[in-house]
Amino acid sequence: MLRQWMSWAGVLFLAGVLAVAGCGKQRAAFTMAGSTAFQPFAEKLADQYMAAHPDVSITVQGGGSAVGVQAALSGAAQIGMADLVTLPPEASPLKSLVVARDGIAIVVSPKNPVTQLTLDQVRRIFNGEIRTWKELGGDDHPIAVVSREAGSGTRSSFEQIVGKVKLTPEAIIQDSNGTIRETVANDVNAIGYLSHGLLNDRIKAVEVDGYLCTEESIMAGHYRLVRPIFLLTRGEPGATSKGFLDYILSEEGQSMIHSNGLIRAK
């Protein structure tokens, strides 16, 4: 038993030595961290960028928008990612750059006959003032409101744009786009909201004030539920990260963002 432990300790030690030796390689490296909504996009952008620039190494981490702000402030990451309509006050020393935008779609079950709502109806549904689908021309069922957790970029953007939202305490809270989609898809009485890139045939987006959440209506400014995605740096970005940021804003970067479900920065 003891000998086994000692051999393990030996393996660990060797691994440590190798690790330290491995750090000797000279490569420009930086880390991005934050918004889980943008993380997959950042990973793909980083892969494409590194394929063209083999001397650069980019590590992408999740953690949420607050981690993005904290990591950029503390230097744990050179670039923070955040998806909030307005950045929190402690992010003020950071330089921010909008790299993409994201539409927020209001979704219900495909079995629900309701197809359009006004922004005011949306507000009253989420405030718990409209409580049955019958009031909206649907079936006589209670409405199950599904929202995101307090502080979520999607939720604070949603509440800010809809305005005067005081979420009903009855509301079910789910903490990701994926679980919101599952919850709404499985409950004919549910209503929720999520990133428009995640719309599929298991859920149905409703028109808000006469417009569906589509790329065109967002670009034309008709659909109002849109939030920006920020990349944050402490001071001016360094040469390596600047190169990457430029790449994200380039036609190639933006078209990748576009083809995977987000909307161009401009």
């Binding site: 038993m1 997959p40 990973e43």
Partner: protein
């Protein structure tokens, strides 16, 4: 009314059997559910290629490696500490207020949600000790997280070793340390292995604490200072961000199969060890 013992026995066994059967049915349902959803995606290419397109296509090789390395590292740190603590608490101290308080504290920590361990690891290892998100920070955090389980199960297993064994060993002139090493620990091994299995399982299944400390980078790790993504975290991100449910369930299926493999190997080793000793 008194039920005759014989009927009581029949009734009780029927109830117990039914309960056990129910447990097994639930277990089988869950495993079959995950496997039927996931196995169609799993093939050699899925296992041995790197993920592409955010994990929407391509395989899971880096997460497979992360899932092996991270719990292993946590275990290498936690096992000696945990078993050592249990030995110390049971063999070297008399049960006193202090030792009782210590095991009580360990029990309480077992219930602390993993996200708190994750936050602690993030602030302490990642930020304060400047490790960054890496295998080492994740391993240390997970090690602390599974310590209470390992301490508690080892302690129980060691206590269950009959005192007569120790007395015989002492009477043969063995020191306390020799007794612990050659008599107590081998006899407590099944219980300790249970603790190890629960600990490994918890590490493999953990998401929150891992994301905060080992990170969630999809890159292949080359040292303990690199960030890794485990299969659980991969499933979590794929499923929750709605990236690809096929690959998410594929990952879950591989995860279930690997846990099964780990369990089988551990039990195989243990039984070989026991039968060699008793021969």
């Amino acid at each position: 009314m008194r039920v005759p013992p014989k009927y009581a026995q029949v009734l009780a066994v029927a109830l117990l059997g039914a309960a056990t059967l129910l447990t097994l049915v639930v277990l089988v349902f869950i495993i079959v559910f995950v496997l039927t959803k996931g196995l169609p995606t799993v093939n050699a290419a899925f296992l041995f290629t790197v993920p592409r397109d955010m994990g929407r296509s391509g395989g899971i090789l880096p997460t497979l490696i992360g899932t092996v390395l991270l719990p292993l590292l946590a275990l290498v740190i936690a096992l000696p500490l945990g078993v050592g603590t249990a030995v110390y608490l049971t063999e070297y101290t008399r049960e006193s207020r202090v030792t009782r308080m210590l095991s009580f504290g360990a029990d309480c920590l077992a219930g602390i949600p993993s996200i708190i361990f994750g936050l602690f690891g993030f602030i302490f290892f990642v930020v304060m000790l400047h490790m960054g998100w890496c295998l080492l920070a994740g391993g240390l955090t997970l090690a602390i997280m599974i310590l209470p389980t390992i301490i508690r199960t080892s302690e129980e297993a060691i206590r269950a070793v009959p005192n007569a064994y120790r007395e015989v060993s002492f009477s043969l002139g063995a020191t306390r340390w020799e007794t612990v090493l050659k008599v107590v620990l081998p006899n407590a091994l099944p219980g300790i292995v249970t603790g190890i299995m629960l600990g490994i399982a918890r590490c493999i299944g953990e998401t929150a604490a891992v994301i905060f400390t080992a990170g969630s980078s999809l890159r292949m790790p080359t040292s303990v200072f690199d960030s890794v993504r485990t299969m659980s975290v991969h499933f979590y991100i794929l499923a929750r961000e709605g990236i690809s449910s096929e690959n998410a369930y594929g990952t879950a299926a591989v995860l279930v199969i690997s846990v099964l493999a780990v369990n089988l190997v551990a039990y195989g080793l243990m039984h070989r060890f026991i039968s060699r000793r008793t021969r």
